[in-house]
């Protein structure tokens, strides 16, 4: 029976690069997939692209390509990625230039576009899910609108001989599914197969999170060699069953428990995981340890895809100002509380009215609030104030006020920090899939 081996070389935009190189060198893989987009990344990319038309793609694209292209070209490993982010064309051009510099030839690079639906979303004044209003009523400045593209266009690019496929907002599991559709000839209405492939893609998409990353809890779950964590490989059969594994001597491990955690990561209803390709059903999945670092996954299925595509909409939403100061030694907590009280009062005196504000004692209650963190008593504590405003000027006030605690606040504060950042908020909407047209073009080296 035909089998392919798919490796995941990145689980997010800033992920480590060595494990991808290790996969290419020692993983005996046919495909190397780089999943590099989060909800907000593409909105930030759109902003960069507006300032410089040659930017707006993943900042580590060049470093990744330089590291893996020579090996992938030699071993005929194909690359599929959403590192194109807001600018797949510029990303592909840079990849072509890097390939030339490296002296490589006979490489075909596909550019998959069409996810940018800003004009459609704005012109149709669509309703935003979380705000519950239409774009025009929301009064917000929309930065970006990107539809989640499915596996079809990516598979088509592979069919047309692409060695490297660069997309923008392709759905994470679709990057992986595309390779299976192409290799095994799965049709775009074979819901069970698409559901199985989507489950495999979902298991792989966060890279190290299934090989022991983000899993260790000393004494409960001691994961070996996390500094050299290996990234996952799925060996997939034509029937859509798979074994999850890794390079043998790489760090980390693959167990039934690492697989279960990743399966449930960022999913809601287990029998209805909606992607552009299929409504995947994970409820019947089982895992079986069949060897060291080898877990067999089976039992996923699928239902017909929806008529709509999810669209991530990014918009400007004011500024967050932050300030922090540390206190240590006897009475540290009392002094930190006094520091926060002072800042609170200063806001009143200066008539600064944030849209939302919080006062944290890092080390005591900043993550889960008062109730869940009662009885915690650290030696040192960090006072933190964060607030959101419409204007940058007001947001700047927060950090400055915290900083003035040096000479105006309680004794012994140290390590002041302040920042102001623009908020790129995200919302989502659904768009009739027929309105979204994908376009594939090619560059050759």
């Amino acid at each position: 029976m035909k089998k392919i081996r798919i490796g995941c070389g990145a689980g997010y935009g800033g992920d480590r690069i060595e494990p991808a190189v290790e996969l290419a060198q020692k993983g005996d893989i046919d495909y190397l997939i780089f999943e590099c987009l989060a909800e907000r990344t593409i909105a930030i990319g759109q902003k960069q692209k507006k300032q410089n038309p040659q930017s707006g793609f993943n900042e580590f694209l060049a470093a990744r390509m330089k590291a893996v292209l020579p090996i992938c070209a030699e071993k005929k490993i194909k690359i599929v990625t959403n590192m194109g982010s807001a600018n797949p064309k510029a990303a592909a051009e840079l990849t072509r230039d890097i390939a030339k510099e490296l002296g490589l030839s006979h490489l075909k690079i596909a550019i998959v576009e069409g996810d940018d639906v800003y004009d459609i979303v704005v012109n149709n004044d669509l309703k935003l899910d979380e705000m519950g209003t239409t774009i025009s009523l929301s009064g917000k400045n929309i930065i970006s609108a990107n539809a989640y593209l499915g596996a079809e266009a990516l598979a088509k690019a592979l069919e047309n001989g692409a060695d490297i496929v660069i997309a923008g907002r392709a759905a994470d599991p679709s990057l992986f599914l595309s390779t299976m559709m192409f290799e095994f000839g799965w049709q775009n209405d074979d819901w069970d197969k698409l559901g199985k492939g989507t489950a495999i893609g979902h298991l792989l998409e966060c890279a190290g999170q299934i090989t022991g990353g983000y899993f260790a809890d000393p004494k409960y779950r001691d994961v070996p060699n996390l500094a050299k964590l290996g990234f996952p490989i799925a060996e997939v059969t034509q029937e859509g069953d798979a074994v999850i594994t890794k390079v043998l001597d790489a760090g980390g491990y693959v167990t039934v428990d690492t697989c279960k955690q990743q399966l449930l990561y960022e999913i809601h209803k287990p029998d209805s995981y909606i992607t552009p390709d299929v409504v995947a059903d994970f409820s019947g999945i089982t895992f079986k340890q069949i060897g060291k670092d080898c877990v067999e996954v089976s039992g996923a299925s699928g239902k017909p895809r929806t008529s709509t595509l999810k669209v991530s909409v990014g918009y400007s939403d004011g500024f967050i100002g932050e300030g922090e100061m540390s206190y240590a030694g006897p009475g540290a907590v009392e002094r930190a509380k006094l520091a926060l009280d002072i800042v609170k009062e200063r806001l009143n005196i200066c008539h600064i009215l944030p849209q939302e504000i919080r006062f944290d004692l890092i080390g005591i209650n900043s993550l889960h609030g008062e109730r869940l963190s009662k009885d915690s008593a650290p030696y040192e504590v960090r006072a933190r104030v964060a607030a959101r405003f419409a204007s940058k000027n007001e947001a700047t006030f927060i950090g400055n006020e915290v900083e003035t605690l040096y000479t105006n606040g309680p004794a012994g504060g140290g390590g002041a920090f302040k920042s102001v950042k623009e908020v790129v908020a995200m919302d989502s909407t659904l768009l009739d899939r027929n309105l979204v047209k994908t376009n594939i073009s090619y560059l050759e080296v």
Partner: protein, 99 residues
Amino acid sequence: MKLREIAHSRTGDKGNISNISVIAYDIDDYETIKKSITAEKVKMYFADIVKGEVIRYELPNLGALNFVMHSALGGGVTRTLSHDMHGKGLSAALMNMDI
């Protein structure tokens, strides 16, 4: 006993929604976990943090539960004032629950 003794967990985020898996180390403990940790109990446990509905999904063949908590992330990763923007630490809080 703390939930941590018999289960492990990971938190995920999508928009303003947080999901927490609860997975039994030993599948024989699944029924105990299922009885002990209801959606209502989780909602009460996170009363200060989770402002919306909590839904529980059961995965008996994995010995796992999945809690989906709405309006749990202060507006989502880019808007929240929390320094754990994704709410990644929520699973650790749940593992501290007495069962």
